[in-house]
Symmetry: C3
Subunit: 245 residues, 3 copies
């Protein structure tokens, strides 16, 4: 069973974070909260998502797994008034999720979880550098890099974080010293990533006050931030690209 109430803005942010990577997810519901692990179709990005029961106004659940069409629920949540509370209730028999909001009842058909790609194994990575910065700063740097290239280098050198993109003619670079960052654990870090994926990730991460990047040398990057007023967290794991030149 699953019965819960949540502020629409927190619910929207949660769905938006998941939508970065996939269109359909298996939600693992337990008495502690909701969790998701998913990989994008190209196996380049992974998301690990947790929303604790404390993020909800009310929360009652036993272990159950449901399949959710993220595009459809995003469309529905678009008509909810800002600040409204959405009541969620699983109807196991009919395999529907009942959403009550603003006096309306919406019965949303669920997907059969067995038709959705199984949970990925999350690799244990020991990444040497850690950078904590404001989501807005990350967002601006990725947006600038997009102007010149389709890939970007993230790294740490001289006790500073940098992000750099080289195009055929132009060049962009952001440098942030330890002072300008929220936190920095310097280490050997320099990896190249696809801008396309980062552009999707910053739609969600760009709103966070603190985003933690864990970076290595030609290794995947971990992008971690909290959602729902610290009632949940999202980690994106993005595979590196190999520099051709």
């Amino acid at each position: 069973m699953f019965k819960a109430s949540i502020n629409i803005d927190l619910l929207k942010d949660s769905i938006a974070a998941l939508s970065v990577i996939v269109d359909e997810v298996r939600l693992k519901i337990s008495s502690d909260g909701i969790s998701v692990k998913a990989v994008d179709p190209a196996n380049v990005a992974m998301v690990v998502f947790d929303l604790k029961s404390s993020a909800f106004e009310n929360y009652e659940a036993s272990d159950v797994e449901i399949g959710l069409d993220l595009i459809k629920i995003t469309d529905i949540l678009g008509i909810v008034e800002r600040g409204s509370i959405v009541d969620l209730e699983l109807d196991s028999e009919s395999q529907k999720l009942n959403l009550f909001f603003d006096g309306l009842l919406y019965k949303l058909s669920l997907l059969d979880p067995s038709t959705i790609r199984a949970d990925p194994r999350v690799p244990q990575l020991d990444l040497p550098a850690k950078v904590v910065l404001n989501g807005q700063d990350l967002r601006r740097a990725v947006k600038a890099a997009e102007k010149v290239s389709d890939h970007v280098t993230l790294g740490v050198e001289n006790n500073a974080f940098y992000m750099q993109a080289k195009g055929d003619t132009d060049f962009v670079r952001l440098d942030m010293t330890a002072n300008e960052l929220i936190d920095l654990d310097a280490g050997d870090a320099c990896s190249l990533f696809s801008i396309e994926y980062l552009l999707d990730i910053i739609k969600s991460a760009g709103k966070a006050n603190e985003v933690t990047l864990s970076i290595g040398r030609d290794f995947p990057i971990l992008i971690y931030f909290e959602i729902a007023n610290a009632g949940g967290s999202v980690t994106f794991l993005l595979a590196p690209r190999i520099e051709s030149d």
Copy 2:
């Protein structure tokens, strides 16, 4: 003759209400005000529109009928500053409507009224249920119904108004008890309507503080609301659809 002045926002709301149903109208102008009766090309919806002389800043008119291209006048009114007064004057000889606003004179060619479909006969309907609600509530319910189906049922049961739509997989329902409504005259009422037409109607009705729905069993619905600070009114009459299943 016709010579009048009106606040641009009231004029825009009036034109917008008419544009829901038709692109061209015959305006019947008299000393009391302006009235329109029109049917949409598919004969599914009708509008009865009245704007009293009291809605105008100044108003002088004798009986005359003019043909107006609603798309064109909507486009022109889009450049008027908010809050401006628009002076209207009919030039019968050249068959133009002169619009003065913001220091500009715009001479708009009128249509020959005889080329526009004649006024429909408005049926006298004795509908058993009457529901008065806020335009915003109606708007939200129609928007939600649109997510699941292309038709929606409106009715009254258990001393409450309801609106319900069933799609192939999903389902939406709004219930509003007498307490949640502005007013309710319960009666035998349950009819099915096209969402497409309701979506157009709520563009105009959705802004009204009070919308009165008169509903029967498999009968047309009347949707009535005031415009121009009670200086006018709009009634839409929408034919029911026959439920196939």
Copy 3:
């Protein structure tokens, strides 16, 4: 050499004024400031642009000419935060313009000035009428004229400025008396212009508090306004069209 700092909003307004006419410009940089003269590809419109060193927060330059891709720099400046200061520095060796803003370094490749059309000769015109009006008034009149025609007449008669457009069916006219204008030097003035060019020009001129029009009879029009808090100025010169009827 060229090294300067400027408020992003002033820089954007400057680039926007130049973009009205051309996509690529030769910037003439000197110790006094920056100037541009350019003609549109169809030889219908000319722009004369000056931005004095006093419009900058800091300014150091010796004589140099650079070629700038206006579409590209407009795109880049779109990501700068409002109110930011942009530091500009010419790297003559690599033929790049370095832009520093919001902690980012953007190295923009310059164009070879010799590939950009040479500076036009600016004709000396002695135009009999001068009209000074608010940019917003000019903007509204051009927008209204666009509704009925693709050309518009500007002129002075009876000690008033007028703008008038005739379409196949409709007609628009703006009259502004000396009292409604900021200033008027009446004279023999009546010329026809392309709306298309005026629509582009008002994107920039429409924001100015004072726009000065110098008009003759079937002569080019001069449209002059200040930018960057009087730290610069823009003059557009637009060739007249010949009335066919």
